[in-house]
Symmetry: C2
Subunit: 610 residues, 2 copies
């Protein structure tokens, strides 16, 4: 190291924050800053909107919450100093409440606040913000510039964008603050930082998990490091929040694009990184207007830290695809249950693969003692459905009981005439009612076992098998359900543990067993075909022409699209479930119920033939 070089130990606190829990999240910051300080860190970075949790959704529009967030930030700075941590620079996310009006500057004529029905003009502008705390003070605040408003994000609904870039000199190292989406835009804050001259860019994130997203992060951060001409410390949230799972995977990339350190996914983790920066590389240090932003600089300390022996940086082993998905599903389920204070869960066990998989996930997430399975055989249930359900339960060590549904089904039939689909749905609803009864009686949360393929084509009964407080595999297509089951058994085998999922459940042809000899294949294309069409129509939002170009069978496409479109009303009422794909049936995909658009080839007259 030469005279010019500066060292800095940076801690990325990859933590699980809770939406709405200002006090608890502030405590989390204190705890992890203490850990980082004990590990010698000079600078600690937390995830996006640490104090409020993310996404807080419309909560950020509530003035009382925004003001409380501002107070919590100031109190936190004081508390950290009181903890003896005032000499650690802490970058923490929060909800700022600034002067001016919110993102919807509407001219409301003659608004009288006491008139009923008035629109609520926003008083004050909410900001997605990050602050640097040091020596008991809020040294600087940064307001996120690029606000994602697509997919699951609605940040333009909530925040006013910022246009100032804050750079703080800490121990002679110039550190720029950015937030999440800022990193996804070429020529954004990282470009400005590169022009201004910095030694490090920190990026708090709340980046939700999607399969293979970790493959996107590294190239992305590399490109921004090149633009910034400085290393980037990317700290991501970890944990489940309703339908989203945040997978951590925090990382640090050097100015040269090299991966310096990487945290594991799906666990809270303190990623400590020793950086050596050479300010001589970017000698020019400017401020003021650069491109679309105004750069402001603050000097905390010019004096570099005393030289210390840099420790090797750690790079976590990447997970295989199946393990990654499994852990995401487990985290999503566990956090929904625990964050909502539920003690236990109940689910119907059909002996089929979906409930077998959900049971295995639930036991991995909560422990066998908190999981209650119920076999609900009807006249049409096969012997094996009951024995396979029992087998699942035995392997998992979970609670299990059997309640035949015939008496209830018969009582309905004794009162009204129900045939065909109505009779099939009745059975599913008797099960749903039974399970909800047990849920109410014993305080369990009911898990729906619907998979993505069913949810897509509406092959489920509203208030029947679709009933539940949470649907853990709602975003898992059937073909992946099988793959995950096989993977989970293999995982157990490799560790000398009992395989949790009965082979029978994996191998047998799927059936809802709502009528004698019924099989899913009676009503649906093969799951291989179905899932492939769903991936292109739902996830990628392709139209008819493109679907055919990609080689799907025209009849299968026509059938599947009709089913998918017609099932919108069912999905509107479905339980939340963990997003793992590019596009889940949640906030990602907002289609109208009353909708006459039907995909067809362009030469055909547009619109429904009806």
């Amino acid at each position: 190291m030469n005279d010019q070089q500066r060292q800095l130990r940076v801690g990325l606190a990859q933590v699980d924050t809770r939406v709405g829990d200002l006090a608890g999240n502030a405590e989390l910051v204190r705890t992890w800053t203490a850990k980082a300080s004990a590990a010698g860190a000079h600078l600690v970075v937390f995830p996006e909107m640490t104090l409020t949790g993310y996404p807080a959704e419309d909560l950020v529009l509530r003035e009382s919450f925004a003001r409380a967030s501002e107070r919590a930030l100031v109190d936190l700075a004081t508390a950290l100093a009181g903890d003896g941590l005032g000499n650690v620079a802490v970058v923490v996310g929060y909800l700022a409440h600034t002067e001016g009006s919110g993102p919807a500057p509407i001219d409301h004529p003659d608004i009288d606040d006491d008139r009923p029905g008035d629109a609520n003009p926003r008083r004050g502008a909410p900001r997605n913000a990050a602050a640097l705390l040091y020596a008991g003070q809020v040294v600087t605040r940064y307001y996120k510039r690029h606000l994602p408003n697509y997919g699951v994000f609605d940040e333009a609904r909530y925040f006013v964008p910022g246009n100032e870039l804050s750079i703080v000199r800490l121990h002679g190292v110039d550190v720029a603050l950015t937030i999440c989406e800022d990193l996804w835009v070429e020529g954004g804050p990282c470009g400005v930082a590169g022009q201004a001259g910095v030694d490090l860019v920190v990026s708090p994130n709340a980046s939700p998990y999607e399969r293979a997203k970790d493959d996107l992060r590294l190239p992305l951060v590399r490109r921004r490091a090149a633009e910034a001409r400085a290393p980037i410390a990317y700290c991501n949230q970890v944990g489940g929040q309703d339908e989203l799972v945040f997978d951590g995977d925090s990382l640090v990339v050097g100015a040269d694009g090299g991966l310096v350190a990487r945290a594991p996914q799906f666990v809270e983790h303190l990623l400590t990184v020793d950086l050596t920066v050479d300010p001589a590389v970017n000698p020019g240090r400017t401020e003021g207007r650069i491109g679309p932003m105004t750069v402001t600089r603050h000097v905390l300390s010019d004096e570099p830290v005393a030289p210390f022996e840099a420790r090797p940086n750690s790079i976590a082993e990447p997970l295989t695809d199946c393990e990654e998905v499994w852990r995401a599903l487990v985290m999503g389920l566990r956090d929904f249950i625990d964050k909502n204070g539920m003690k236990s869960v109940v689910l119907g066990m059909s002996g089929g693969i979906d409930s077998a998989l959900v049971a295995a996930l639930a036991v991995d997430a909560l422990g066998a003692d908190r999981v209650h399975g119920v076999g609900l055989p009807s006249k049409w249930s096969s012997e094996h459905s009951l024995s396979d359900a029992q087998d699942s339960a035995n392997r998992l060590g979970m609670h299990y009981s059997v309640v035949p549904i015939a008496p209830m089904v018969d009582a309905y039939h004794g009162s009204v005439e129900l045939t065909g689909v109505a009779a099939e749905n009745l059975q599913a609803r008797v099960r749903g009612t039974l399970l909800m009864g047990l849920s109410n009686q014993h305080g369990h949360l009911l898990l729906a076992t619907s998979n993505k393929s069913e949810v897509a084509v509406g092959y489920s009964t509203l208030y029947g098998d679709a009933a539940g407080g949470f649907a853990p595999i709602k975003d898992v297509p059937k073909t992946l359900v099988w793959n995950l089951a096989r993977w989970r058994n293999e995982y157990a085998r490799s560790r000398g543990e009992t395989e949790p999922i009965p082979e029978n459940s994996i191998d047998k042809p799927p059936s809802a067993e709502l009528a004698p000899g019924q099989q899913d294949s009676d009503s649906l294309p093969s799951y291989e075909e179905l899932d492939a069409v769903i991936a292109d129509y739902v996830d990628r939002d392709l139209g008819m022409a493109e679907l055919l170009e990609r080689g799907h069978d025209a009849d299968v496409v026509a059938r599947v699209l009709r089913l998918v479109d017609a099932a919108e009303f069912k999905r509107r009422q479905s339980a939340p479930g963990t997003k793992i794909s590019l596009k889940a049936f949640g906030r990602d995909r907002r289609l109208p119920i009353s909708n006459r658009w039907r995909e067809s080839l362009p030469s055909v007259r547009e619109g429904a033939a009806q």
Copy 2:
């Protein structure tokens, strides 16, 4: 009239478009343009996004749909000329698909379209657009500049804003095109038009109904007319689309702010207006860059129309508040049923006011023959609940049957132990299952009779009384339910018709009758108090301090807020229902389920005590 003055007959086609039905909506344009032409109109204005319907939500992100919309526009221009309507200028809304990328310009590194899980970078930019069609041509296109992204709107998710203002000279009258939200912004396109010099501003709208919104429109349009220094022709959509109702109420305001003409609410209507404009008033006519926009001008015809005798313009009588709400609810219900091709509806009739009101709405909307009521008495139902239900049905002439639920309830009790709340919920779910069975068997859509007060505090049973495809009074607080019932009876009386709602149902204390002698007042504050708190906490999003400032009782507030917050998970799965208030429990209010924020006074430590 002097030599300078110009006349123009403008038709505002206040029509009901259908989302997704490009062909049907184009037909509608042809039909109404013919009507307007027969009435002598030179210019016809249609509502916002006429061809696609509004809101089309994520459908606008589908390229196949956007391209189909572009084709439909061009085909429509040709068709109108073929209809002999080429000499009428038609302003029609549509979805444009322009070059460039969508509203989420994300830098996706190394995107390979064949990689699973890739984000779907948008190819082409969707625009909320309006075009002027004349003589078989698309003369000009305008792209909406101000995109609402609050409340029920997500236009920043969908569209790229425009920055060009189009002005077309038609018969010597300079007409500027704007769209909806453009009118809500001071200094927006109307201000630019005023500086540029125009004679008329047309505004296609899709402005959803809210109580007293009509009171907002006129002052708003007046202010913009003053800015534009020209009359404004405001044409609004009419009809129900999922949870939104568009109330029409199209209007024309003169440059002097005077109300020139106004259409009725809740009906399709051709509002024809005879305008006389004096170009000498604003002699300067500029184009090019003005403020934030670029003004472009097109001349179709300089020659004024031959003088004609102006007919008196019509101004519809405003509706009373209750009638307005009633018509909105009827429209919302009818359009949801009809636009989704359902033939009939079924609902549980408890003898209480909610089901009595919903039955009356359904009969007004669909006719008695399409409405099926079912009395579902249990052990705990009073005599009067059955007789009042029968009375409702008789008054309305609707179908009615009775199915006692005891056999089903007893069958469950014979299989599992269910007590307390679990037993109460069981009854509600048996009813829900029964009604859904009838729905499946006979093809009815099930109407849920939940009101806003219940939905707010979660005083309903998931999959029980909350079950249904549509919840017509979901956004109607209990106190308004009573008012509407009284109003509807009075309305009937004044017309010499049978009062549709039994007095008993209005007068008796509300009870869910799930346990002996049970009354709502056992568990809830009075509805007067409850509804007042809901209006301030839910609709106005006020925090604890403001709620107390407004005079609500602290204990009531604490209790109600706790119930409202805890009911979020139930609302997430609820059926859609018509929005009538400032903030309904739909797209207007997006709160997380996993949420630890609890309102309290600022001096108390923030966050949950848990």
